[in-house]
Symmetry: C2
Subunit: 640 residues, 2 copies
């Protein structure tokens, strides 16, 4: 991002050294490579994952991949799509198994664009990221490993970390300097070890799992569904995959077994023999086994995700758990995304270094929820089979009364969590809350349904310049910028408020005017997302029909420069069928007076404020950004 | 498809020789290559279209490309999407231009999956087909041309055509034998010429057009919309393109001009100067011109599309017209599709050779409609500007009264036509009508909204085996098979009718039992579309919730073999908000008793019949297929 001073003249300098090219390392690398950082990325495997491993992409991750433009490449592999989960148990009387229920994996009370889990071999997913990295000039160095590192901010405040790298055959070594070091090494993280960070085991129970990917021939009716099968012969989890493949998870041993041995194993044939018994009276035969593995796994969580906010851990290096909930890769993606934009905000000169301290609490709490969820989820079913009516009720929008039902509550939490929409970051400098230093009374207007620290609500709108119907939440690509959504209500009512907003944004000491691009005078007129500042993209949404909006008349110049980000809130939405302006209504913003929503670069709501005449709106946003940006903000009367 | 007898021992034998690798030739080649035919495909250009030419893909063509699995590759190029058309005219008082109206290019009264036109450079589209052909072992031979051909069915009834091919530099020649020859050569078709087929000019007026693709800088607000601009300085059509490009069409001369000269031309600079005047008071400047061309074009239509039903013409070889309606490539695609499946049905041994005689009347009428539409469309606007309320009314579902308004009627026809959904093939052996030889009283039950010769109505359903929500009309890929949709109503009511249907389909002399695969005993259990017959794919749709359907209990074996084609009609649809079974309701079929719909391999409805107990349903379908298949159909009591 800036000219690099050569301090250790003989050593190569990088913004970041990333160790491990699994989902977490690849997501971090891909984000930072797109935003122009210099990356050294190594992996100790000779090639990407050839078979097996993680394979579930949750709805929230699909949103993210779409936002990065990577979803079409993933979907081109035709992943299996899981919309429902089926439960099979022994019948009350008799032997074998019967279906005792099904439920939606992402029921309609969750407003998801893609209400399903996509299942695809991890190697295919990795290669989509690797291809994108290649476009941005980053190649993964394989098979290389990290031998050690030292960090000394006094000796070199800019590139404090020296990292020793080595080819795994020991024939080549390299020492490089970096601003950051990231461990995406998986559960056995050497970086975590060198830092002396310990793993806490939340649940003392460990398990040995067998997992088998293959093509089967069976008359079991739900072989293309995700299934949990309990039988007198043991339990199995069925997960459909691309290309007619099926993944089976079988628990081989548990530390609660009387003869527990974490090194207990089972052959491919033994697992197939067990599976045949569990599936009885249905028949199952293997035509081909693509991958088979047995591994012990315990629930563990890293005590720290970083010590000095220069060396970070993410993904399996921080949290290990059973594979059942299909959360590993998704949690890894979101760890990386969370860290990526914060490093960018700091290194690009926008945010205080202190925002890096929010990475650990935000992501560690998600990991803790994941681990406790893992248990809750199991109990939910072992206690009793829910009645079909309960599942049906729970799948829909429910009244406050119904929410009191413990089952419905746990079910909803489970669905929100597994879909990825349950993440709720707690208040901090980035996620406004009552204790935030921003205290303007305009903040968090009555009625808003947006919650800070949670994902922005989905909405369809019509883009004014080309009349395209678009997903508003997808309109700003993952460009590392904060997204300022100006819900502008009715143009006739908000005309002055909108002009005042633009006027005060244009102030040189506003959060916006303080961080203009140095090259602002030579930006191409085709630049759609960052014409003025690399830290913000502004979208303006009117509660009006597209044909009633004339950009040159209704939109102040500063906002009109984002021509491709002016929208009409004129699409009908089934969730708010009577609303005249569905997007405003879904956000819980006044359909006449609007409001302003700041969304973090990773898609989570930072703050919501009223849109008012005068300087109040910008003042409240100055207060918000002032809590973590590098400059002192405030108003002067100067204009852009 | 079959072992080839070597009659002319020294010559290569092909199922078809295709001349020209534009849209029509490529679509034909791609279909036939997928279905296993031996193809010689030549083109006289050294490479695919480098710039310019056709670029508009209409909603119906997007459906077709999706059905072929080619849509993602097209959309990966990020085509511009046109949802609305804007009209600009001189103001009543004063100079310059003002927007006088906009309308949806595919309004909501058309039930389109993709209600927009995608605009993408023809070369990109060609390359998507070429890549698919390559996967199926077909390479286009370039730059080669056809020198002549002769056809003699007596000398060789199987490969009657001898074709002489030559490299365009004259250094290499080749003579090959073929069952069919196809001209996709464009307006100047040497094959048409050799056959002595004449062109009839429907409209005696010719025009000279200038067309320019480029990147512009402008303050014209609708530069990302499709626009028709009339000004005192002339007329222009604006069409947005991928990568910030804009296409402008300018009429340079017309045969109605007093100084008409079909060789009149204009330089790039002259056209830009004209455009600047027409856009006034808006400014427009070119940053880059990618393609500029001037060409005279008249409306013409080929008198015949074939003479002997061995040598066929399609695409621009059959019809030329102004580029304004963006119909050229779309009409070409549908010409090819229409011919492809008919050749397949004949050559695979299912249909009488006589069905080839339906190609010309079906497609020629479309071309004739296109040409007369071209004029109507122009007149619609030159007469008067429609009131905004009229356009609004016309865009919605309208009452019979409103339909009487001439403007509304023409508008609707225009939208249906340009979207590709207006094609309505007339009754013939394939499209049932009252004069068809099938006369069972079960045919065309009261209330059905499906019309034979038109595309099947769209509907969402839930696939039973994996709970995936799918587009029913897309569920059978373009596999050359007839699609039998069994709308099975309520399982409790139709159980016997469904069993009877399966029983009589299983009869060896039914249309179904008469055309089983020769390899039926060794078909893989993974085969989802053609387990029994290459000529049919069966889908069964119940008017029930997915969770209520148990395939092993509710679906007779013959239908259950199509496990992946059993659906629950349980998705809500805004167009029939009160229906319990939306797909049944949209088709206008009884939600309790169902009905059977036969859809031709190209997606057009062939026949609709009631689903009844006994043999009646299969008898009526035997009557239908008996009108054009190679075997005598009828019932015996034998079973599959």
């Amino acid at each position: 991002m800036e000219d690099r001073p050569i301090k250790s003249a003989s050593l190569q300098h990088y913004d970041i050294v990333i160790v491990g090219a699994g989902p977490v390392g690849l997501m971090l690398s891909t984000c930072l490579a797109r935003w122009g950082y210099r990356i050294r990325h190594i992996d100790n495997r000779a090639e990407p994952t050839p078979t097996g491993r993680a394979d579930g992409i949750q709805p929230r991750s699909l949103d993210l991949l779409r936002n990065m433009g990577l979803k079409p490449a993933i979907m081109a592999h035709k992943p299996a799509r899981v919309y429902e989960v089926a439960f099979w148990d022994p019948p009350r009387d008799g032997r074998g198994i019967v279906r005792t229920g099904t439920w939606a994996s992402c029921p309609s009370f969750i407003d998801a664009r893609y209400p399903f889990t996509a299942l695809l071999h991890q190697g295919r997913i990795e290669r989509v990221f690797i291809a994108d990295l290649d476009k941005n000039g980053v190649q993964i160095q394989r098979p290389w490993t990290i031998k050690g590192f030292k960090s000394d901010e006094k000796a070199d405040p800019e590139y404090p970390i020296e990292v020793n790298l080595e080819h795994i055959d020991g024939t080549q070594q390299d020492t490089v300097c970096a601003k950051y070091l990231f461990s995406g090494e998986g559960a056995r993280s050497s970086i975590r070890e060198q830092l002396g960070i310990r793993i806490t085991h939340k649940d003392p129970i460990s398990h040995v799992w067998g997992v088998m990917d293959g093509v089967v021939k069976t008359d079991f009716p739900d072989i293309k569904m995700k299934c949990t099968i309990h039988s007198e012969h043991g339990s199995i989890m069925v997960i459909p995959r691309e290309n007619n493949m099926v993944r089976l998870y079988i628990q081989i041993a548990s530390s609660t077994d009387p003869d527990w041995n974490p090194r207990k194993t089972a052959t491919e044939e033994e697992v197939q023999a067990s599976a045949k018994k569990i599936f009885h009276p249905y028949l199952i035969e293997w035509e081909r086994v693509e991958w088979y593995s047995v591994y012990p796994i315990g629930q563990g969580i890293s005590d720290k995700y970083t010590i000095d906010h220069r060396v970070f851990l993410g993904g399996d290096a921080c949290h290990t758990h059973s594979p059942k909930a299909g959360q590993g890769m998704n949690t890894a993606f979101l760890d990386a995304l969370n860290l990526a934009w914060k490093i960018h905000a700091v290194e690009a000169g926008f945010a205080d270094r202190a925002i890096l301290t929010t990475y650990e609490p935000e992501r560690k709490e998600v990991a803790e929820t994941l681990l406790s969820f893992d248990n809750k989820y199991a109990k939910l079913f072992s206690q009793r089979s829910p009645a079909a009516t309960e599942v049906q009720a729970a799948s829909k929008q429910t009244s406050a009364q119904e929410e009191d039902n413990e089952f419905v509550k746990t079910f909803k939490e489970a669905c929100e969590f597994t879909s990825g929409y349950g993440v709720a970051y707690k208040p901090n400098a980035l996620n406004w809350g009552p204790d935030h230093s921003a205290q303007s009374p305009l903040i968090h207007p009555n009625g808003t349904k947006l919650r800070t620290g949670r994902i922005m609500i989905n909405a369809d709108v019509t883009r004014v310049v080309d009349a395209n119907v678009v997903h508003l939440e997808q309109e700003v690509p993952l460009n590392g910028s904060f997204r300022i959504y100006v819900f502008a209500g009715k143009p006739s009512i908000t005309a002055k408020a909108l002009n005042d907003l633009a006027f005060h944004l244009g102030d040189k000491r506003s959060f916006y005017g303080s961080y203009l691009r140095p090259d602002i005078g030579s930006v191409s007129h085709h630049e759609t997302h960052n014409p003025h500042s690399l830290f913000f993209t502004i979208c303006t949404v009117f509660a009006a029909q597209r044909s009633q909006i004339e950009i040159s008349r209704d939109v102040p110049d500063l906002l009109a420069r984002y021509r491709d980000h002016v929208y009409a809130d004129d699409r009908w939405d089934r969730r708010v069928p009577d609303a005249a302006a569905a997007a405003h209504a879904k956000m819980g913003l006044d359909q006449e007076k609007g409001g302003v929503v700041v969304v973090r670069p990773d898609g989570y709501v930072g703050i919501v404020t009223s849109l008012v005449e005068g300087s109040g709106t910008v003042t409240s946003l100055n207060e918000y950004f002032g809590a973590f940006c590098t400059k002192k903000l405030g108003e002067t009367m100067a204009q852009l």
